[in-house]
């Protein structure tokens, strides 16, 4: 699809010209798999219940923060 140039990061972020292509679900699954390899997640296991979407969102953010910190520590370790 060639090269698109932007005059600023803001212009780049505002660009929504993503192509809608066939095989979306296969690309979605591959994309998630790459993402999980780059930033492995550790989750609690089991069932958690929430009174509202906001409550569910807060719990999700907490787990995401913990995973992000774990990934940062892992990346900071010398090989």
């Amino acid at each position: 699809m060639g090269v698109t140039r932007f005059r600023s990061p803001e212009e780049m972020n505002a660009n929504l010209g993503l192509p809608v292509r066939k095989g979306g679900v296969e690309r979605f699954l591959r994309h998630c798999a790459r993402y999980w390899r780059l930033a492995p997640r550790i989750y609690p296991r089991g069932v958690f219940k929430f009174r509202s979407l906001e409550e569910a969102q807060r719990a999700r953010q907490q787990i995401s923060r913990e995973n992000a910190q774990r990934t940062r520590r892992r990346c900071a370790e010398p090989e």
Binding site: V20, R21, G24, F28, G46, K49
Partner: protein, 157 residues
């Protein structure tokens, strides 16, 4: 949860006759707009029978995981319209929803059938996803709404 696990749970949902609509980033993926996510969001028809079907599907997909028993129709139809299930393995979890605030419910979200590996998957339409996402405060969802609007020409309302 790898690709095969995802397909196997979608197959189990189909075989158990669960009435659901896939919403969220996975649904966008089915429409060709791809971004990573950690959750598969299932908006389900809020009946006790359907919740039992969902539990059977999860048990089937994860070898009778005993945690599934903690999912209850009394919760989902009552005080807890959002239940998160982390399967015993993998990198993806399920958000099971019976209501989306005042915004929408299973009965009001338009959907269409898609397919993966021959398994039918009921997915919210681009317009339905746009409506769900544009009303939220999360910046990521606002961005999703913009992508949907741009890609599918679903208009301002």
């Amino acid at each position: 949860m790898d690709r095969d696990e995802i397909v196997s749970v979608l197959k189990a949902l189909e075989e158990e006759g669960v009435q659901y609509v896939l919403i969220g980033a996975a649904a966008m993926g089915f429409h060709g707009l791809v971004r990573a996510t950690e959750a598969l969001d299932l908006l389900i028809h809020p009946t006790a029978e359907n919740v039992e079907g969902l539990k059977r599907a999860f048990r089937r997909a994860w070898d009778n995981d005993p945690n599934v028993e903690a999912i209850s129709a009394a919760d989902l139809l009552g005080e807890y319209p959002a239940v998160r299930y982390y399967p015993p393995s993998g990198d993806l979890y399920f958000d099971v929803l019976t209501r989306l605030g005042e915004m929408a419910s299973f009965a009001t979200v338009e959907s269409e059938l898609k397919e993966v590996d021959g398994v039918p998957v009921r997915v919210a339409t681009p317009l339905a996803l746009y409506r769900l996402k544009k009303g939220t405060v999360r910046p990521l969802h606002q961005h999703d709404a913009e992508m949907l609007r741009h890609a599918f020409n679903v208009g301002e309302e």
